[in-house]
């Protein structure tokens, strides 16, 4: 992730091909040469990997050395003189290539790598004819049964890059060198299928293969490297915001790659980014607006008819009931520009602050908690400085599956000897890698954090200077810790008190310790308290405001941060300025040229649903969200959606929510529009159009403008860039942001002025609110705990291969081909007690309803717990969840529910998956 820092001082002087160059200590000859545009050929080198020095192609001459040295593995020295392209060196390189070609298949005409193959390129550059030793192509047989990864070991040059990227960067190690000498082959142990050796289908091995030994199976024969147009854009999945290179051929998306040295991901991608974009090519895309006909069926129509229908109904309801009868849902999957326009439409045109989006279901408590404690609700630090921490404390984040590319930073830190503490009920991948795994009972985060703080205070490990200089309210915290001893906290959490003390000492003893969290710590009734507790802990130990520290919540969708920044919330305009602040109101009225009708915070997502159920909200406009699956207590949500007087849904697909709509507007895909996303680390990045919008669809911003203008708004935006000008003019944190400045690596807000470089670490010059505020927090058990009738605690969450409600990921064969059904994770002990096995169909019942998933027996979940992914409409976890709220933010505690699990005895014919029962 961290591209070589430019900050290191260049104190050395050396000569490369007669040219004097400044270099930094620790740099390699290869790095320095490439930095001044001198190309040195390499086969076994990848900037993401440690130098290997195996392929002997990067040999260079260094004055005074005994012989040629590998540039990739040779550190520079002061006064070093290097020649990279002498006749001798060229002869040596040619020899290496001749050897490689002597057993290479030379099937370039049908090789996926042709045109993007290092061996092909160098054979040409070094004028290698057929090998002087004759040609003896390899004849290995190997299995090739992975859905996404195509293998051809006969093209392999044994550079070991796939072996090393999987082992060192991913922390897995699927591939290894098998056998010796001529028989050497890169293979899985025992030639097992990749799925059985921990493969996460990230395709990192493909990305590093310099030849065609590993390639993409799904895009075989789709287009040559030189035939595709390549567009840099941002991944539409999680909040990491990886840069993608989208390849299109004649306007059709054919594959996705990433460039090493670019983006927050530095060429790394997870399975969703690399193989999950096919949904834009889906046959199920909506290509015309739909309206209800007289029979109540959704039928295709023209844009004019659809817009007429919206105009008539919106105007009628507005006239009858005013702005309070409307609600709008912005979207964490839409761009900043689109979210800005959606909230502007709601506030300035419809006259309501009833705007919210699915951040309410995940990160509202982090925003609230961090705003209270620090004065800014965003992730404090940057991905790149996670590995600067001496201790990383992960609580409530299954990072490997939900933010895979951030997890690589943790893997890197572990390789560099850093310590990892994981608090999670499940034995997630990181828990297995951790020095300390605190397998806490679900919903006991606050107790754990209090126990740790109690031990820190009792042992005098707190950072007195930081507390005195930068914070207030310490006494309040210290007093509040008296209600629970370390032993009591450990007992509540179900962990060994010694382990809890160890964790506290590790965290407090580190020079820099960072907290990483996600919805595992927020989707509880005590969600905001959990975040306040993390903030307390961080301040207690002075772990705020420096690289490697902070409280860092990882967001689940590509633009959670942006949708919040843009005012897709009931209580805030863009930039978090409150809607009941007279100064903010005055500013927005001036900017928008309207008088704002609603001057009080609007309703939150669940309040909107309740008001709709009560008939108080009569019209809803939903952009790119799928509350039918994403909200708790699905039965209630579906009844509500059915009851809404007039529902407009704008989406790429006929989602479970759109099926309830009166008008459905077909939106373009993320690859078909321009705009910006703001990732979890507050980095505003450019989303670029790689294809024309699919015929019949329009980007959300354009649709919003059409709808707004039907309502008399008179908007005249030329495009997203035009909208960004307006955003920058009214949003202090975005004040210095222009598309031009975002071109290279984006900018991290706050970026208030045109010359501001952006802010990688928040609170570095003191807290945003002046002083950090400690809060008293009390542990409260989850509202629903296991009892006799519902003896299991169900944990809901995400899986690596899928995303949110599956509208995108499940329509991408590269993902659905890996995992196609929602499976209930169950501990082996519980499974045998229930008499169920791998794949057994079970009925899971909570107080709200039941679903019928199959069972995956795994020791990832502890006895007494079960885990259900949220992505599957056939087995919707949210049938089971409840809508008890975190009081501070109205965020539902969807993480946990008490359930009972029974084996289904009846025949499969009687079974209707996903039916709703009470």
């Amino acid at each position: 992730m961290a591209v070589v820092s430019e900050a290191v001082e260049k104190t050395l002087t050396m000569t490369v091909n007669g040219r004097e160059v400044k270099a930094a200590p620790g740099q390699t000859v290869l790095e320095v040469a490439r930095s001044i545009g001198v190309e040195i050929p390499t086969l076994c080198h990848d900037d993401r990997l440690e130098p290997y020095g195996a392929c002997r192609l990067c040999l260079v001459e260094v004055e005074g050395a005994r012989g040629p040295v590998p540039a990739c593995a040779t550190k520079v020295g002061d006064g070093m003189t290097v020649q990279t392209n002498t006749d001798k060196i060229r002869r040596l390189r040619k020899f290496v290539i001749e050897l490689l070609l002597s057993n290479h298949p030379l099937d370039c005409p049908i090789c996926e790598a042709a045109g993007d193959c290092r061996l092909q390129e160098y054979a040409y550059e070094y004028e290698v004819s057929m090998s002087p030793w004759g040609w003896h192509p390899l004849e290995f047989e190997s299995r090739d049964d992975h859905p996404n990864v195509a293998r051809n070991p006969n093209r392999c040059i044994l550079c070991g890059r796939c072996v090393r990227i999987c082992r060192d960067v991913m922390g897995i190690g699927c591939w290894g060198f098998t056998n010796r000498g001529y028989d050497t082959i890169i293979d899985t142990p025992y030639n097992l299928p990749l799925e059985e050796v921990g493969c996460v289908s990230c395709g990192q091995c493909i990305s590093t293969c310099p030849v065609g030994a590993l390639s993409r199976k799904r895009s075989r024969y789709a287009a040559r490297h030189w035939q595709t147009d390549k567009t840099r854009t941002i991944c539409p999945y999680c909040g990491v915001g990886c840069e993608l290179i989208v390849h299109t051929n004649r306007g059709k998306l054919v594959r996705v790659t990433a460039d090493v040295g670019s983006g927050v991901n530095n060429g790394n991608l997870c399975v969703k980014g690399r193989f999950g974009m096919d949904y834009v090519n889906s046959e199920e895309r909506l290509t015309a607006p739909l309206v209800r006909d007289e029979n109540g069926d959704l039928v295709p129509t023209t844009w004019d008819v659809a817009l007429d229908r919206i105009e008539q109904n919106f105007k009628r309801i507005s006239a009858e009931s005013g702005g309070a009868a409307f609600a709008a849902l912005a979207s964490a999957k839409a761009t900043n520009e689109e979210n800005y326009l959606m909230q502007k439409f709601a506030r300035a045109v419809l006259g309501t602050n009833n705007v919210d989006h699915c951040t309410r279901l995940c990160h509202a408590p982090s925003i609230e908690g961090l705003t209270v404690a620090f004065g800014s609700g965003a992730m404090t630090n940057s991905f790149a400085d996670i590995s600067d921490a001496d201790v990383i404390f992960v609580i409530g984040s299954n990072t490997t599956e939900t933010h895979p590319v951030v997890a690589l930073e943790i893997v890197r830190a572990l390789r560099n000897g850093k310590k990892l503490i994981v608090a999670d009920p499940r034995s997630i991948d990181l828990a297995r890698k951790a020095h300390l795994h605190l397998a806490i009972r679900p919903g006991t985060n606050v107790a754990l954090l209090k126990g740790m703080m109690r031990h820190i205070v009792d042992s005098g490990l707190e950072d007195e200077a930081f507390i005195a200089e930068q914070t207030e309210g310490y006494g309040v915290l210290r007093d509040s810790l008296q209600d629970m001893t370390v032993a009591q906290a450990a007992d509540v959490c179900g962990v060994d008190p010694e382990a809890l003390r160890n964790a506290a000492e590790l965290y407090a003893g580190a020079d820099a310790a960072g907290i990483l969290c996600a919805v595992g710590s927020t989707q509880h009734e005590s969600g905001t308290d959990g975040v306040l507790s993390m903030a307390n802990l961080a301040m207690l130990c002075g772990n705020v405001g420096r690289p490697g520290t902070g409280v860092n919540h990882l967001q689940g969708q590509s633009n959670v941060q942006g949708a919040c920044d843009m005012g897709g919330l009931p209580d805030a305009f863009s930039g978090g300025r409150r809607v009941d602040d007279p100064a903010a109101i005055a500013q927005m009225e001036a900017a928008w040229g309207v008088v704002l009708a609603d001057r009080k915070p609007g309703k939150t997502l669940l309040e909107i649903m309740n008001a709709a159920a009560a008939g108080e909200i009569r019209a809803m406009y939903i952009m790119g969200e799928n509350p039918a699956l994403s909200e708790p207590d699905q039965t209630h949500v579906l009844q509500t959606l059915a009851a809404v007087g007039f529902l407009v849904v704008q989406d790429m697909f006929l989602t479970e929510t759109a099926e309830y709509a009166d008008v459905v507007l077909p939106a373009s895909a993320v690859t078909e529009r321009d705009g910006t996303f703001t990732n979890s680390e507050r980095r505003v990045q450019r989303v670029r159009r790689a294809q024309e919008p699919l015929e019949g669809t329009m980007p959300d911003w354009r649709i919003l403008q059409l709808v707004a203008n039907r309502m008399g708004a008179g908007w005249e935006y030329d495009g997203p860039e035009d909208v960004m000008h307006e955003i920058a003019s009214v949003t202090p944190e975005y004040g210095g942001i222009t598309y031009e400045r975002l071109e290279e690596r984006g900018l991290q807000w706050p970026c208030p002025t045109a010359d501001h470089p952006g802010t990688p670490v928040l609170h570095a010059q003191g807290f945003a609110r002046g002083r950090g505020l400690f809060s008293a927090v009390t542990h409260r058990p989850p509202a629903e705990v296991a009892d006799e009738e519902y003896p299991f605690v169900l944990i809901t969450g995400r899986e690596l291969e899928h995303y949110h409600t599956g509208t995108m990921s499940r329509r991408s064969p590269g993902l659905s081909g890996l995992v196609s059904e929602g499976r209930l994770q169950l501990n082996p002990a519980d499974a045998s007690r229930l008499g169920v096995d791998q794949g057994t169909l079970v009925r899971v019942t909570s107080r709200r309803g039941s679903i019928d998933p199959t069972v995956w027996v795994t020791d990832r979940v502890p006895p007494g717990c079960a885990f259900m992914p949220i992505h599957y409409s056939e087995a919707p976890a949210n049938v089971l969840t409840h809508a008890n709220l975190d009081q501070a933010t109205q965020t539902p505690a969807v993480k946990l529910a008490a359930v009972r699990i029974e084996r289904i005895v009846s025949t499969a014919e009687n079974h209707k998956p996903g039916t709703l029962e009470d």
């Binding site: 082992r167 190690g173 290894g176 010796r180 142990p189 050796v197 921990g198």
Partner: protein
């Protein structure tokens, strides 16, 4: 590589006796460079490297199984499958090679229906092609267990194997054969 914590959990109960492996893992706990001695010890204890042991070693070393497997397949000394009760070593040293060892091998393999390094289904024989048995004067040469058979033809080699099998099956312990010259401690010349 060194054995980390969690030796206990590294060895999972299964169909195989983990006690010898457990002892080995304890012996090498926290030692760097322990992989090869561990593999050697495991092979000494089990006669080969059982998959269960390989997985346990990988877990204990906190290394991917692929790396352990890579080392095990790199060195000729390690076996991933158990040996059969009797080992047929066919010499492919220079002297044997020029005197027809390839044909001898071919015929034995055809007769037993297995290749180099493989076991017959009844676990009677393992074939191992080796570089030199040190009996070049009697080339081509093979050994069945500790017995050496020299001046072989493809037919006589097969005959020897068949007779060995017959005696084994008759319950005569180590098979014996008189059809071909038999040498106890042949002093072959290095070719």
């Amino acid at each position: 590589m060194s054995v980390g914590q969690g030796v206990e959990s590294a060895v999972e109960a299964g169909g195989f006796d983990e006690a010898p492996l457990r002892d080995l893992l304890e012996t090498y706990q926290d030692q760097r460079g322990a992989l090869i001695p561990l593999l050697q010890g495991t092979q000494a204890a089990y006669g080969y490297l059982p998959a269960e042991a390989m997985e346990s070693i990988a877990r204990a070393l906190r290394e991917p199984l692929s790396q352990v497997f890579g080392v095990a397949t790199f060195y000729a000394q390690f076996r991933l499958v158990p040996r059969a009760r009797n080992v047929v070593r066919v010499c492919h040293g220079t002297a044997c090679h020029v005197s027809g060892a390839p044909l001898v091998s071919l015929e034995i393999e055809r007769n037993l229906g297995i290749g180099d390094g493989e076991n017959t289904e009844d676990m009677m024989f393992t074939i191992e092609n080796v570089a030199c048995l040190g009996a070049c004067g009697m080339a081509p040469v093979m050994m069945i267990n500790e017995r050496t058979y020299g001046k072989l033809s493809p037919d006589s080699a097969v005959k020897a194997v068949k007779e060995f099998r017959a005696k084994e099956e008759a319950g005569n312990g180590s098979g014996d054969t008189s059809a071909v010259p038999e040498v106890e401690d042949a002093d072959g010349e290095e070719a």
